[in-house]
Subunit: 419 residues, 2 copies
Amino acid sequence: MSADQLRAQLDTLEAQYRALAERQLSLDLTRGKPGTEQVSLSDALDGILEGDYRASNGTDVRNYGGLDGLPEAKALFSKVMGVPESDIVIGGNSSLTLMYSVIDFALNVGLRGAESAWGNSDELKFLCPVPGYDRHFAICEHLGIEMIPVAMDANGPDMDEVERLVSSDPAIKGIWCVPRFSNPTGCVYSEETVERLARLGTIASDDFIVMYDNAYAVHTIDADAPELANIRDYSVKHGTESSVFQFGSTSKVTFAGAGVAFLSSSPANLAAFKQHLGFQSIGPDKVNQLRHVKLLQSPAGIAAHMEKHAALLRPRFAAVLATLENELGDTGMGEWLSPQGGYFISFNTRPGLAQTVVKLAADIGVALTPAGATYPYGNDPEDSNIRLAPSYPSLKDVQATAEAFVICVKLASIRQALA
Amino acid sequence: MSADQLRAQLDTLEAQYRALAERQLSLDLTRGKPGTEQVSLSDALDGILEGDYRASNGTDVRNYGGLDGLPEAKALFSKVMGVPESDIVIGGNSSLTLMYSVIDFALNVGLRGAESAWGNSDELKFLCPVPGYDRHFAICEHLGIEMIPVAMDANGPDMDEVERLVSSDPAIKGIWCVPRFSNPTGCVYSEETVERLARLGTIASDDFIVMYDNAYAVHTIDADAPELANIRDYSVKHGTESSVFQFGSTSKVTFAGAGVAFLSSSPANLAAFKQHLGFQSIGPDKVNQLRHVKLLQSPAGIAAHMEKHAALLRPRFAAVLATLENELGDTGMGEWLSPQGGYFISFNTRPGLAQTVVKLAADIGVALTPAGATYPYGNDPEDSNIRLAPSYPSLKDVQATAEAFVICVKLASIRQALA
């Protein structure tokens, strides 16, 4: 477009933006949390036991004991993770808590005895594929672990770079991964990426771990979404089971704040971790575990339940993606992927505009995830990534937010072009 | 008794012991856990919400959010602890987890910023009133904190000794307390002891904390059991609110493994601790908090509920105490207190016999808490303390265990006298 054409479009956009401002919107696309209809899908949980508090092995789930979970919970959720029933620990309501505990254990106590504690070293680093999940990065920052960003593409982290880094720097103790419907890009790691992650244990420092947060293992939106390769099988192939900690939960299956979380690793790691857990817990809430098994029952039961979630999420994602395509397709003002599952759409503005767009939106009552939140230390060097989370608002609000968002993107882009 | 009399009695006891051995008993008095009838008192919990998942302030308890608990849970449990509603955090199902988190935070992160982290010092110590709770001691041992035993009497820890130690050694960072129906002696700390504990913050190192595990705050067996003075009031009086962390839970009110835990301290400590918690949790299980408030409702509701527990515990404690009194009273073979609440009877053999008695009992199928478990590092210097926990077995089994126990005590004592 010529400068005159741009100026004409700018006038139109300014008018549209002012009109939005006058509507005094109050919209929020920040939180990757399930909507009210979604959590209602599991309302049967409370009361599902009908007074029967006995687990399959006779355990009274009301009382103390059982640090690593009920057998029937292990049987069900090990299938979700693709691991043996023996190699899983069922925790409380938060996989984040399990992740923090693993890092805290490796750092301050030592996965393989006190001499192996990461904290014995002066320099500690973690690889952080970007854009990524801010709560992963926050754990590292809180515990004083330096973060090194690594680029993501449609197949997952740039594995050439990851392999180069971990094989050359023993201070690198781990890597964060969200392998299926990655937060926020929505990509599914390719089979090659999964195998190369499993193989890192053969080239990295001895105490290196893959923090494999399989948060969206069953969270498909499109029926033909790609499957995730089984990292456990590849760890067995390469003899690296102890270098992988896999996490999952029912937070976005049943109740976001009252689900069941789980973790899997090698038998040696789990034995050490359970011993550590025993100092800080009398065991997880087994009553809630039993409720979950009664509600979900089997992998097929989980799949049927997740299809109900997909039916609620699908129109919300479609509304955002259609608006982006209709309004920004072929304009060069933004790039995005169309995720087939998970909770996010990752949008890249032209370089240098993410903060401007988020501010423009905030000023008219549209809350977006802060620019930079998907990068370590909140620092997006390109200032271009914005995470859109369409699950929680009503479809009408999602549509209104998407429309306001594209106006903000266009306005920022054209102002930049004219500057 | 003369040596001949002792030998005659020994023959009788050996015969009684052999007779017990032939019965192939399988009894267990080790675990301070509620009995099945006790946990059944709260069976209404599952299903009590009747589909209404909204808290009083409109919060959808199924979803994410709310790091420090529901307002109605704070209102109820702050009354149990005798603290303002604003100064409590409601956690997950385990007060042990909250205690571990506080110690971990103070040690590795710092209650008042990184410079205040205990881990910056080479030498760290904790005072451990003895006999005490093995899980408290295990936290210190796991985290490399040296433990210094301090004697207990009927009024609580020997406060002259505690004050002398904390005022002379800045490496002492805290003290463990179970102030009401102490584990295991069953004593209730006197009002003077409570005030002197609150005042420790004025004479100890700046980062000293009282770990005040009020686990049995409402767990009376006798209606006329002594009340516990309010440590919060004394901390306010002495300006030491930040030196006290008070803990409680419903583990022995509702479901031992699926209750609600809470902690109270000064506003400054809670703000720092919540910020720390935010890195490792998406918030506690609010659904379960709401269930608990619906079941227990008010302090009066809790008291009525606890009276049902007392009715189940009273005959079990009475059976043990009557057997001890009838068989060992005035023999000089043992000393014990008669607790008016809590979960334990603390028995002291003649010096040097606790391990022997526990072994004698184990050999005839009667499991007792390991001798030494109530001391740091499992080291009871007198080898005399044995913790009896009569809550879990049936009344018949409690009676049978008590009868077997006194035979073991007598046998060990007379063998010692004749040695």
